[in-house]
Structure formats: structure tokens, C-alpha cells
């Protein structure tokens, strides 16, 4: 089989972007989610509202930020609000349609670990921690998880549960009454996992062109179920790739620009 004309990162980004309907209000994470949201905004969803947890509301960056609070986000925002308000008035108040999450570990019910690998008191790897994730997982109407799929990251058992997915599945999450519906899709470098409507266990719902279910299974630390009608994700369209590559090129150029500070003499 010939090499496709796009990378795994690119089809992940395009696939994530396609999940977003025009007009939705998104709580954007940094990295691939940020690329996906801006790709969506620059293609099929021009009225997507992007909120970064730094307090920038309705931002329309020309280049992608490296951090959640680059100046670019501030300059192109509808407004900037203090951080406590982003969490209280927007997220907690139920104004966010879609939240993006990533993590070091994910289990079959979409629960996420971004705290530690190993024992909490004596960790093998201390990860950055919770940040905004537990509240995004709780309050966003819908959560999209974006993660590379490996047996070390898609695990049978989390070392630590930082953010709640479907807990043990079969409706347990709903008994705790969080406003959000939980992770609706997990976008990986193999395809897309979605919760089974009954068990709420994540199942492989679609794969990228040329990817097999067996390959995805081999990259998963639990016996991965596959939906009866496994779909194939349509490959990125030329327009999607063009916009995405332009965005990355602009971003690379901007981030390489050296900083000069003029000191008073």
C-alpha cells in the first residue's frame, strides 16, 4: 500500500476538527485540540467560539499558541476575563458545549489520569496534575479526548483517576449527577473510540484508512471491543490539509522569531 498523503497527526487533527459543529462553544486545550479547533474555525465552523482557560473568550488566533496564554490569544479575543470567572461563570455555569481533554492514561470507561504514574506517595512519574480537567470532565456538555493509543496509555487500570469519564460504566456516572454527558469520542492515532450506549465502555467505532482493528487492539491495554459496523474515517480533504499546514507553517515561523528586549540605558 502506498503512503497516504498525510501524517497520523494530521488525520487525528482533521478528525477532531470534524466533531465540532458551527456555533459550538469549546473549551480548548493546548496542542492538537487547539490545532483542531482552529482548523474547524477556518473551514466548516467559522462561528465556533473558542475559550482557552487563560480567560480568552471567543479568540481567533492567526498562529497557534504554544501555551494556553500566548499574547496571540489575548489580541484576537472578544474579551479577556479573570481566570476564576472562566471556571465559575463559563464552565461551571454550564455554558461550554465541548471540552477537550488529554491524559497520560485512559481506561476503558474514559476515565483519565494526568496526576502520577505509580503510587501517589512514591511516583515513578510525577505528571503535571489536574489543572482544569476534572471540571471540564464534569461540566462540559460533551467531552472529546485526544490521545495517542499505546498499551501504556490505554490501560486496563489507571494508576490514578484525575478526571471522571463513565466511572465503572452502565450509568454509574449519571448517579453522581454531573451536568455533562461524559466523553463522547476518543480520537487516537488509529481512529475513533465511542462509548457503547449500554455499557458505556469505549469501543472502536472507526479507523483511519489503512488501519486495521487488530492494530488498534494491539495498541490497547484492555481487550478492545469493535462496533459491529466499523467505519473508515474519510481521509483529510485537500482543503483541510492545506489550511492545517498553513496554520502550522505560520505558527512555526512565529515561534522561531527571536525576542529582543530594550533595556533603558
Amino acid at each position: 500500500m502506498s503512503e497516504p498523503g498525510y501524517s497520523r497527526d494530521e488525520i487525528m487533527t482533521v478528525t477532531a476538527a470534524r466533531q465540532l459543529r458551527n456555533g459550538a462553544v469549546c473549551f480548548v486545550g493546548i496542542g492538537l485540540p487547539s490545532a483542531a479547533c482552529n482548523l474547524a474555525r477556518l473551514t466548516h465552523a467559522p462561528d465556533l467560539v473558542l475559550i482557552y482557560e487563560s480567560g480568552t473568550v471567543g479568540t481567533r488566533p492567526v498562529v497557534l499558541p504554544l501555551s494556553i496564554g500566548d499574547g496571540e490569544l489575548a489580541e484576537t479575543a472578544t474579551c479577556i476575563v479573570p481566570l476564576p470567572e472562566i471556571f465559575a461563570h463559563y464552565l461551571q455555569r454550564g455554558r461550554i458545549d465541548v471540552g477537550f481533554l488529554g491524559a497520560a492514561q485512559l481506561d476503558r470507561f474514559g476515565n483519565l489520569n494526568s496526576t502520577v504514574i505509580g503510587d501517589y506517595a512514591h511516583p515513578q512519574v510525577r505528571l503535571p496534575g489536574a489543572g482544569g480537567a476534572p471540571e471540564i470532565a464534569t461540566y462540559a456538555r460533551e467531552v472529546l479526548v485526544v490521545m495517542k493509543q499505546t498499551p501504556r496509555s490505554f490501560v486496563a487500570r489507571l494508576d490514578f483517576c484525575t478526571s471522571c469519564g463513565y466511572l465503572e460504566g452502565r450509568g454509574v456516572r449519571r448517579t453522581f449527577g454531573p451536568p455533562g454527558a461524559g466523553p463522547q469520542a476518543v480520537i487516537t492515532d488509529f481512529g475513533v473510540l465511542r462509548p457503547n450506549p449500554d455499557t458505556e465502555e469505549l469501543e472502536l467505532a472507526s479507523v483511519y484508512p489503512g488501519v486495521t482493528a487488530d492494530a488498534a487492539r494491539a495498541a490497547t491495554g484492555w481487550p478492545l471491543n469493535v462496533t459491529r459496523t466499523l467505519a473508515v474515517v474519510p481521509p483529510p480533504e485537500p482543503r483541510e490539509l492545506e489550511v492545517l499546514r498553513d496554520l502550522h507553517a505560520r505558527t512555526g515561523a512565529a515561534h522561531a522569531r527571536p525576542v529582543h528586549i530594550k533595556l533603558p540605558s
Partner: protein, 282 residues
């Protein structure tokens, strides 16, 4: 509100063992102040910040801190803070006790501190293991009206909060513009407030609804141009994203880190010296 040199401000107001919040959310991070704390070899600090980043990595790696209260401790957009990890995972150069919140909880903790109330309440996030962590300070209480479970978060009241801001006027009022994070809440929650600024101006000329800290809530201020570098000061200079990427390599190794700090922080008299050593300022 006295204007002091940064050296004098840190010497006077930041004592060994103090709880210190150098706030800033990606923007306006008080790097110069943190590095002056390193130069003055403060010890046993209880560091507080929502997003401890490179300057906290530096303070931890140089042995200034024994405790950290935080909600997300990484190199934004890059990855781990290797010195933070080394302290937590292997106790180098000394162990670091963690007290962790979520962003939303820590924002409530600062707000409570700024409001003179012993705690704040918020709805509980969905179940996680955070509630069973030894350092957690959040407790479940019941809403007296709806009986819903709420999270009570104790107020954070740092001994000293340090901010970097754009301008101070002739009367000593301080202007913060752009992404503000929880700077205002951290400032007003503190017992003492130090500010470094890019420059002093006669009048601020800002809009009447701008975020201004009146001179009489500021304990002392220092004029430190470039004081947020490699973070940024909106309207003055951009974030040096390349430096954040480079730090990942520098901090990964104890010896390389120590050599870098020796040369760029301990080996220069002040922040202007560091900027010159890095070739950022001429």
C-alpha cells in the same frame, strides 16, 4: 508604597520559610523576582501558584522550596518540569511536599483569601482520586438550602504575593493589562504585595475599567524592565516560546541545569545581566 530595587524588595519582604505566591498565568510571570529569590538563597519557602512553571522549576531545583501548593505543574505546551519531578520523585535537591488543587478550586481558594473569608464553596466535580490524596484541603459540605454536596475550599492567604505588571504611575498605582489569570485575587489575598513593573509613567492613561491595583494595597514596587522574560508583558515583548522549548533540555539533567543556573542567574548581578547573558537584551 516605596519604590525599591528588586534586591532590596526581596531582601526585605521574602523571608526563609515564608509562603510566597509568584502569580501569573503564562503572561506576566515574575521571573526576575523568582531569580532574585534564588540569588539570595532563600530556603524552605512554601511556594504557591496555580501553574508553577519554569521559574518555579528553577527555585525548586536550586533548593529554595520545601512545599508547593498548585493546580498544574508543567512546562506549558512542552511537557514536564524536570526539576519539579526530580524533587518529588527522588528528593533532589530536597524533598517537596505537594498540596494540589484543580484550577477551579485554587481560584476559589484565592478568591476566599482576597475576600477575607475562611473558605469558599463550589459544586463538587465528578468523583476522582483527588479527594483521597494526602495533601488535599478540599472538604465536602452540604448546601444548607438544596442539600446538594458542595466542595469547601480553604482560603489561600500567602505571606507575600509577587506580581509583574506593565506600569506604575507617579502615585504608585499599578496597571495590569492582557491575560490576568488569578493575579488580582492572589494580590488581594496576600498579607504583603510586591510588584515588579516594566516602567514608571506619569499617568496610566488606561480605561476606567482597567485592572489597577491602587498604590495603597501595594507593599513595595520595583522597576524591572523585561522582568517577565521568558514569559511576556503584553504591549512590551512577546513570550519567548523557543526558550520554553529549550528549557526542556536544559532542565532534564541535574548538571546541565546547575551549570545553566550558575552562569545565567547566580553569575549575574541582576535581571538585566541575565537578559544580556542570554543575548535577549543588548
Amino acid at each position: 508604597m516605596p519604590l525599591l530595587s528588586l534586591r532590596e524588595a526581596i531582601a526585605t519582604y521574602v523571608k526563609d520559610g515564608a509562603s510566597v505566591a509568584l502569580e501569573g498565568f503564562t503572561h506576566l510571570i515574575p521571573f526576575a523576582a523568582g531569580q532574585e529569590i534564588i540569588r539570595q538563597q532563600r530556603r524552605h519557602l512554601h511556594l504557591i501558584r496555580m501553574t508553577p512553571d519554569l521559574v518555579y522549576d528553577q527555585m525548586i531545583g536550586m533548593g529554595c522550596a520545601s512545599r508547593l501548593t498548585f493546580s498544574w505543574g508543567g512546562n506549558p505546551g512542552v511537557g514536564s518540569l524536570h526539576r519539579l519531578r526530580d524533587a518529588v520523585e527522588r528528593g533532589w535537591p530536597q524533598p517537596l511536599t505537594l498540596a494540589e488543587f484543580t484550577h477551579a478550586e485554587m481560584a476559589v481558594a484565592y478568591q476566599a483569601g482576597a475576600s477575607g473569608v475562611s473558605c469558599g464553596v463550589m459544586p463538587r466535580h465528578a468523583p476522582s482520586d483527588l479527594a483521597r490524596v494526602p495533601g488535599t484541603a478540599v472538604r465536602e459540605v452540604q448546601c444548607p438550602f438544596t442539600a446538594a454536596p458542595l466542595a469547601a475550599v480553604p482560603a489561600l492567604t500567602p505571606d507575600v504575593t509577587i506580581l509583574h505588571a506593565q506600569q506604575i504611575d507617579a502615585r504608585g498605582n499599578v496597571l495590569i493589562r492582557g491575560i490576568v489569570g488569578a493575579a488580582k485575587e492572589a494580590a488581594l489575598a496576600a498579607r504583603q504585595l510586591l510588584v515588579t513593573v516594566e516602567e514608571q509613567v506619569e499617568t496610566l492613561g488606561s480605561d476606567m475599567n482597567a485592572l489597577i491595583l491602587p498604590s495603597w494595597v501595594v507593599t513595595a514596587a520595583s522597576i524591572v524592565p523585561g522582568g517577565a522574560y521568558p514569559s511576556y508583558a503584553h504591549g512590551y515583548y512577546p513570550r519567548d516560546n523557543a526558550f520554553y522549548l529549550a528549557w526542556d533540555e536544559i532542565a532534564r539533567d541535574r548538571e546541565r541545569f546547575s551549570a545553566w543556573m550558575e552562569r545565567h542567574v547566580l553569575g549575574v548581578p541582576d535581571h538585566a545581566g541575565l537578559l544580556r547573558a542570554l543575548g535577549v537584551a543588548a
